[in-house]
């Protein structure tokens, strides 16, 4: 399977998904106007990836400084996919990374932990 790399813009994050190492990383801000259109290839890639993933650990590294409300929904959908994979016995690890002074991002991470209790989500404070 091919890797997925999408460069960052001023309002969309850098996406770097490596199929072989099973390490997925999203870094930056996310407030596109056409959020679902923007995330569609991301969701499609993850869906295909999860359908033929190995037994090794899958890691998702999320360092998202800011998410607008429609992006929150997109990440809810991504977490849904990962939760389904986890329920099928796949090993999924999520790192939710935020700056120490970014209360909003920390709170969002806590909300995801609360909503996806079965998933292994670690909150990681930067620097």
């Amino acid at each position: 399977m091919e890797n997925l790399i999408i460069e960052a813009t001023q309002y969309t994050p850098k996406i770097d998904f490596n199929a072989k190492s099973q390490s997925l990383s999203i870094v930056g801000k996310s407030y596109p106007e056409n959020t679902f259109e923007y995330y569609e290839p991301v969701i499609v890639w993850i869906t295909e990836f999860l359908s033929n993933v190995s037994d090794d650990i899958i890691t998702l590294y999320l360092d998202l400084e800011y998410l607008n409300s429609s992006s929150l929904k997109a990440y809810f959908d991504i977490f849904d996919l990962l939760e389904a994979a986890h329920n099928e016995g796949k090993k999924v690890q999520i790192e939710w990374v935020f700056d120490a002074d970014n209360d909003i991002c920390e709170e969002t991470g806590e909300d995801f932990m609360e909503d996806f209790k079965s998933l292994d989500i670690k909150l990681v404070v930067k620097g």
Binding site: Q10, Y11, Y31, P32, E33, N34, T35, F36, E37, Y66, N68, S69, S70, L72, K73, F76, D101, N102, D103, I104, E107, D111, E114, D115
Partner: protein, 179 residues
């Protein structure tokens, strides 16, 4: 043209940032990033700055998606007329973000219901309300999750202030959110 009149009003209203005209995604990004830098230079703390950034984006993207007379000719990229103000309320000693756009008569009922629903909750409950809406996706549409007002209310220190104004044959929606 009497620009000093506008300057006087801006001083009286504590406005630190304003724009009136066609709002696009690239302009939204430019405006919020500029306003963010401005607040940081004034020594505002990270939380105030980030809250302003978040509320301003929700208001601007609402205008883009819902304003009457939006230009949708370029498929998914909308450009819509509206006004946005970021200012300091002297009495409350708080920042506010306020915006205005023209709407359809039908939208008035829909917006009023949404506002009353959101303002019926305590601040502490809104975090849960937002998550339930995201999970159920009941208000989701092509361009958003339909939760922008809840996100604003969650970030705001007060209830969402809003009103409607009829000018001739036009109907305007105004919203004011305090940090």
């Amino acid at each position: 043209m009497n620009i000093s009149k506008i300057r006087t009003i801006m001083q009286e209203e504590g406005i630190v940032f304003s724009f009136s005209g066609m709002i696009s995604q690239s302009l939204t990004s430019f405006m919020v990033e500029t306003a963010k830098n401005q607040l940081e230079e004034q020594g505002e703390d990270a939380k105030t700055t980030r809250t302003m950034f978040s509320i301003a984006i929700e208001q601007l993207q609402n205008i883009m998606s819902y304003s009457k007379n939006k230009d949708t000719s370029n498929s998914s990229k909308y450009i819509s007329p509206g006004v946005i103000l970021i200012g300091v309320d002297i009495d409350k000693d708080k920042y506010y973000i306020s915006s205005s756009n023209e709407i359809d008569e039908d939208d008035k009922i829909r917006i009023t219901q949404k506002m009353e629903y959101i303002n019926s909750f305590e601040k502490s409950e809104l975090r849960k309300v937002l998550r339930e809406k995201l999970r159920s996706a009941e208000d989701k549409h092509e361009r958003g999750a339909g939760v922008g007002f809840i996100e604003m209310a969650k970030r705001s220190s007060e209830e969402l202030e809003y009103d409607f104004e009829t000018v001739g044959e036009k109907l305007y929606f105004h919203i004011k959110t305090y940090i």
